[in-house]
Amino acid sequence: MGHTLAEKIIAVHLVDGEGNVASDNQIEVWPGDLVEVAVDVVLSNDITAPIAIREFEKLGVERVFDPNRVVMVADHFAPNKDIKSAEQCLTMRQFARVQGLPHHFDVGRMGIEHVLLPEQGLVVPGDIVVGADSHTCTYGALGAFATGMGSTDIAVAMATGRVWLRVPETIRIVYHGQLQPWVGGKDLILYTIGQIGVGGALYKAIEFAGPVVDGLSMAGRFTMANMAIEAGGKVGLFAVDDVTCAYVGGRASRPYRVYQMDADAAYAQVLEIDVSQIEPQVAFPHLPENVRPVSQAGDVRIDQAVIGSCTNGRLEDLRVAADVLRGRQVHSDVRCIIIPGSQQVYLDALREGLIEIFVEAGAAVSTPTCGPCLGGHMGVLAAGERAVSTTNRNFRGRMGHPESEVYLVGPAIAAASAVAGRIAGPEKMLL
């Protein structure tokens, strides 16, 4: 019997009793196996690194296992939103200096971590990546086994270069049919979470497959892999194809090998989704599974629209928003906040004229930050306020006051809603 992509990647990272890494394909692993693996990249951010550093120091280890493989990004509460946040960023900065970490990204050179790492070529296909951030699963779009963990796991990984894993069962989701206008990766993943629920892939890997995802750009794939965690998934994987290789080529910081799932791999579940009838989706408060087609959203007045994040902060996302906002004005009752996902995305958007379109439309454009997504800064909501947002979570209190509401959408709906002052699709205003 064959293997899933998750099993293939784990098998070549196994560590044996003597500490040797199995780099050939001879050893097999199966769902349920508890294994120890070598990791290629260990990631943390300004919120999770301080605890990881505290636990690392308790271990009594002097140096990280490999300074080139330990990545730290100041993105959540950076630029520093208050004194305590400044101290957290300082803790991380000092650790990075002492350890000589070349991949510590600070304000002015950073990006939202899951936009930044692929862009910088720090993650390559076939990698195992662990990050103290739940959206580390984003790199599954590159065919990397990438998963979120807590700070203590990351501390041990920084010290040893190893983690323990339970080999997950895999759910394969096959998308076919013809995409409707304005429907993108965000709508596909929201629709999928609506189908399987926020616990639908609990403890499992997801493989996204089929002709529709084969036709998606890397940006669309990153968006889908990013939200695997919102279905409880450990990782959301895509097969490596020409689109992946074109993206990784010229960026990759290391040579890589491509692994593919076997045709006779055993899946816990195979789901077929016909995308032809899928409209742009809206996830209503307070769970990402509460999705409705935009045509059935009803009359929902909004106070804020956020476009950005590790889910939808890439250049293609900003282009979609600009297509809607070009020559239009953000509604007088709405604050529209647009956040390019990295310095490079910002620069590219500037050079393409997108930033000018946003500012002329009456939107605020921010330096890269996770800020409003988790109610940190740069767009926190008051009691009773509502936001449409291209981010990934709409839990109670996620963007601010516990009595505020977040509606998750893709960039087209976010931009159209910003103009309309209520949740709206772009097709009417573009006619």
């Binding site: 919120i47 999770t48 605890i51 739940s134 796991d153 979570r393």
Partner: protein, 168 residues
């Protein structure tokens, strides 16, 4: 490892944003985090919870963010143990790693009401509801995870392995 306490009953999909809202993530000690534990769904919890109390919840407890601040806040509040129908996987790892006992037991959750007195025996893997008199058996942890629990968390477990030169 035996513990006894009062049950705090919650539903499905209790996410890490309500266990500890992100606006408090600019601090990281269990004591500071505990003051705001469960604040957005249960404003009384942080003040009223007693050392040894037990959180009892539905499916997918701890879903969402990877923030270890969530189990740290619960542990800092003095909660002895969390019993749920199922746990989100990052929360599950984090709890084991920091030494917060967690147990999956759908039957016990179904039949527990807010305020019930529960007794948990981690080693035997049993939960007893003193109101109903019923005892529930939970599935045992794999030996390897039990090793982390018995060491007191992943850091002491790893210290021991490094000291014994087992992996490094």
């Amino acid at each position: 490892m035996r513990m006894a306490g009062t049950a705090w009953r919650y539903g499905d999909n209790v996410d890490t944003d309500v266990i500890i809202p992100a606006r408090y993530l600019n601090v990281s000690t269990p004591e500071e985090l505990a003051r705001h534990c469960m604040e957005d769904v249960d404003p009384d919890f942080a003040n009223a919870v007693q050392p040894g109390d037990i959180i009892v919840a539905g499916e997918n407890f701890g879903c969402g963010s990877s923030r270890e601040h969530a189990p740290l806040a619960i542990k800092g509040a003095g909660v002895a143990c969390v019993v749920a129908k199922s746990f989100a996987r990052i929360f599950y790892r984090n709890s084991i790693n920091i030494g917060l006992p967690i147990l999956e037991c759908p039957e016990a959750v179904e039949e527990t009401e807010e305020g019930d007195q529960l007794t948990v025996d981690l080693k035997a893997g049993t939960i007893t509801n003193e109101r109903t008199g019923r005892t529930y058996r939970t599935s045992p942890f794999p030996a390897f995870i039990m090793g982390i629990i018995q060491a007191g968390g992943l850091v002491p477990y790893t210290q021991r392995r490094i000291g014994g030169r087992e992996i490094i």
